[in-house]
Symmetry: C2
């Protein structure tokens, strides 16, 4: 058994059963091994950013890693942006990068590139296998590293000769340590702070965003009056009816500062200390007020869910009913796109159990509020600011959850980074409805230019507008086998979305904004 | 004057007058500076691989760098693959990557990423500006570093506060050292080797592939009987009528080994020692025979052109006529795609002064021979093996040479990596005719799988075929504003290519292969 087959069998033995791939010649023996080893679903992405975004979406929904298969340094490079998003979402990913045979690297042939150097910035674990007899051990370690709390990208570099040379066979899966628990002194400290009755906010990060974690936070808010917010971008959050209606900390610095200004206590539950997404000349990087007591209940790698439950128990916070869902608006909205109207349409049509993936920093910004009353769903966001995560992550989520419809809310500028994901949706007959917010601009950048007080000139006109020519998303989708329709009113959106959700396979709606 | 404006004025002062860009918030002040500073053409790419590929094509054709403008680590990551190709083509590129303000990095906000770590594998020079008053100095150094022989990628990382803070104003361009000359003992050694009259080959790399370098090589071949080959992939080569008909060293290992086997002397003129593109279990990495005397006339960073002329003079090699161009075939070919037939169509229709960019390792392999008799043109290839260089590089070449038609020969699998380049061609009304070889497979990988003796199974079936669904390149092109047509015979190809070359603006031909 060669190293490639030992690797494949080790992965399948560790329940890594999906491989998102765009292989090349140096991965040929691994592909051939996958032909022989049952139990791995191989999914092709036509660009590596699709491959890695799929692995991110898959890992977020299953809590267990998929494998990628990438080709040498440039193949990894093309997938780095969505690995960066996965890193920021704490998604477990086993990132396999084929490379030249160990003895071939010294010839510095055209594809030779420092793969490990490229992998480190997005990975929590990087290893280059040096012998076929070590590949299976390395694979078992990679799965373990990817899965250990809080989850992350484990990159295994696979020189071609370690794939084709004889191995020592597969290795069993290694144990994954439990998520570290928060010690009671930190629970007690947070309890003391909340008992003071001063204005307080609990900021909820990825490991707090489970049904149980959110319920505990909801109890705490009821008992103490603390405000609840999630981080500005969430990896995955259960939302809709039956889930506490908790909003995000705003993206805009001034709004976030205003929300945090009254707080005397800020409790971080699996969230980092809140900082501005970008620095601005006249705005702070830290969003909380100078006198605020910032207190970490649970770090991003710790078990924030259990800590929140312990804190609610320490405060004897009673179970708190959610209250009735917000009343639906008076009929479905009409007219052009607004975030509120869009949210109302979405809330009205989103099926129970669906998954929403949002990669739309302008048009998606105001959608949490209008969708609190939607049927129960999970909401995923772009966590790392590397735009173009939307369609790939939605694709991976759909493969992870074949019985759950996926709605991808995709900005047009960001969508053009990874439109190739539509082909994978068609190839795999996935139930993904993509709504492209077609405002035909990098609207966020037009706003940022305005914010710095500059007058638009020829450079910003050329660089921030997506017109001349306008993109035709219906043609683009159809070119990849995804049926599509263009709409420009909320009533047409509702009609198109309803039909798309009732039909089989992927669909794309270009929504002129 | 802030750092951004000092940077922009320094670049324009150093004759860096094109900026290929996909900026974000951290680059806002630089964009605003470009709005105020005349002399820089700003061109938007809808994905960073387009941006960097454009810079590669532009630099290959002008010999002088364009600037890029990329957004933080993920933006750079998305552009790395075509920077890798630029590195392998020795293309001068001033690669500007905006980043968080220096004081903001420590907050580890979502987009925070180690930009320098990502830049190093593709760059010959990397610098992070630490103060606005140093940005102009750093920019002048970046241009110098990009231009110094043999040319390469100089990455300047621009924290947002160095862009918006007060500077010391622009700096003048720094001198670029001449390309290092080869000392006479190496000329003499090569002359002695060739005088022995043993079978010899001269392998020509990038710095030898000028009209003068090729003419000197042609004299040498005439006088000594030495065979002439270029490296398997060329950055830019003058070809067609009036230029010596010199073929490439074959891509396939066995063919390359067979061509080199009889040689007792191998003279490297600006080329690295020839090695297999990939390693294979039972094939050598070094392509020359064990007994061959390998001799470096000029390293890749040295002046191979002048060395070849000196060598031809040392051997008193007379000027050698080119002979008549090969007779055209009997009429234009009919029927389905073959490389020979395609080459004949291309040779018949390619306008004088045109530029060919080829990114098609399967379908493009046999095209040098059939196009020796074409009108004079320059031929560019994918130099780094990072597929997807075709359409972006063609786009940048068209911007560099607005009066020269560009024909892009694009494999379909590789084309899907960077199809967004078509939009830039439409936006800029570029004269680029893209021919997509639509064989609906990663054909090279199917061949490689066959070569390792494996039987195709479910994994390789899923991963190597581009069917189910087939891509519709006509829809894809039209979705980005580029008119397009599908053909499946050589006569229809000739009709479509002739019309496209006679019309204005970009066009795409999907050629079913």
């Amino acid at each position: 058994m060669n190293g490639a087959e030992a690797l494949a069998r080790t992965l399948v033995g560790a329940k890594v059963t999906a491989c998102f791939a765009n292989p090349g010649t140096s991965e040929m023996h691994f592909v051939s091994a996958l032909d022989r080893v049952p139990g791995m679903r191989c999914v092709l992405g036509l660009a590596e950013t699709v491959v890695t975004g799929c692995a991110d979406g898959y890992g977020r929904m299953t809590g267990h890693p998929a494998a990628t298969l990438l080709h040498c340094g440039p193949g990894l490079a093309n997938g780095l942006a969505n690995l960066h998003n996965a890193k920021r979402a704490y998604t477990p990913v086993v990132n396999i990068v084929g490379d030249h045979a160990t003895y071939h690297v010294g010839h510095d042939t055209p594809l030779t590139c420092d793969v490990a150097a490229l992998a480190h910035p997005v990975s929590r674990w990087v290893r280059l296998s040096r012998h076929a007899r070590e590949v299976a051990d390395d694979a078992a370690l990679a799965v373990q590293a990817a899965c250990g709390a809080p989850g992350g990208v484990a990159t295994l570099i696979l020189p071609a000769d370690t794939a084709w040379s004889p191995s020592a066979g597969p290795r069993p899966a290694l144990p994954v340590p439990d998520r570290p628990q928060v010690e009671s002194p930190r629970i007690d400290e947070a309890a003391r702070a909340l008992r003071q009755g001063q204005p307080a906010m609990i900021l909820l990060g990825t490991s707090a965003l489970s049904q149980a974690g959110l319920s505990a936070a909801w109890r705490l808010a009821g008992a103490t009056g603390a405000a609840l917010r999630t981080t500005t971008f969430v990896a995955r959050m259960p939302r809709g009816q039956g889930r506490p209606p908790i909003d995000r900390l705003p993206y805009a610095v001034d709004q976030a500062v205003a929300e945090l200004a009254p707080m005397r206590t800020l409790i971080l539950a699996g969230a980092p200390a809140p900082a501005a997404f970008f620095a601005y000349p006249d705005k702070p990087s830290e969003l909380w007020a100078p006198g605020t007591h910032v207190l970490s209940l649970a770090g991003t790698g710790e078990d924030a869910e259990t800590a929140l439950i312990a804190l609610a128990d320490a405060l004897a916070a009673p179970v708190r009913p959610l209250g009735p869902p917000p009343a639906p608006g008076p009929g479905l909205p009409h007219g052009p796109f607004t975030p509120a109207a869009f949210g109302q349409v979405l809330a009205g049509l989103l099926p129970a159990g669906s998954i929403v993936m949002e990669d739309a920093v302008t048009s998606g910004r105001g959608l949490f509020g209008p969708t609190f009353g939607a049927a129960p769903h999970d909401w995923l966001q772009n966590t790392g600011g590397a735009i173009g995560g939307g369609m790939p992550t939605a694709t991976g989520a759909a493969i992870a959850c074949p019985d759950r419809p996926v709605v991808c809310l995709q900005a047009d500028g960001a969508g053009m980074y990874s439109l190739q994901a539509l082909w994978t949706q068609a190839r795999e007959s996935l139930k993904v409805v993509t709504i492209v917010f077609s405002n035909r601009a990098y609207r966020i950048l037009q706003a940022e230019l305005h914010a710095v007080g500059a007058t638009p000139g020829p450079a910003s006109e050329a660089l921030f507008k997506l017109t001349e020519p306008s993109l035709d998303w219906v043609s683009l989708a159809q070119g990849m086998g995804v049926p599509a329709r263009r709409v420009d009113t909320m009533q047409d959106l509702a009609d198109a979305l309803g039909r798309a959700l009732r039909s089989q396979g992927p669909f794309l709606i270009e929504l002129l904004c």
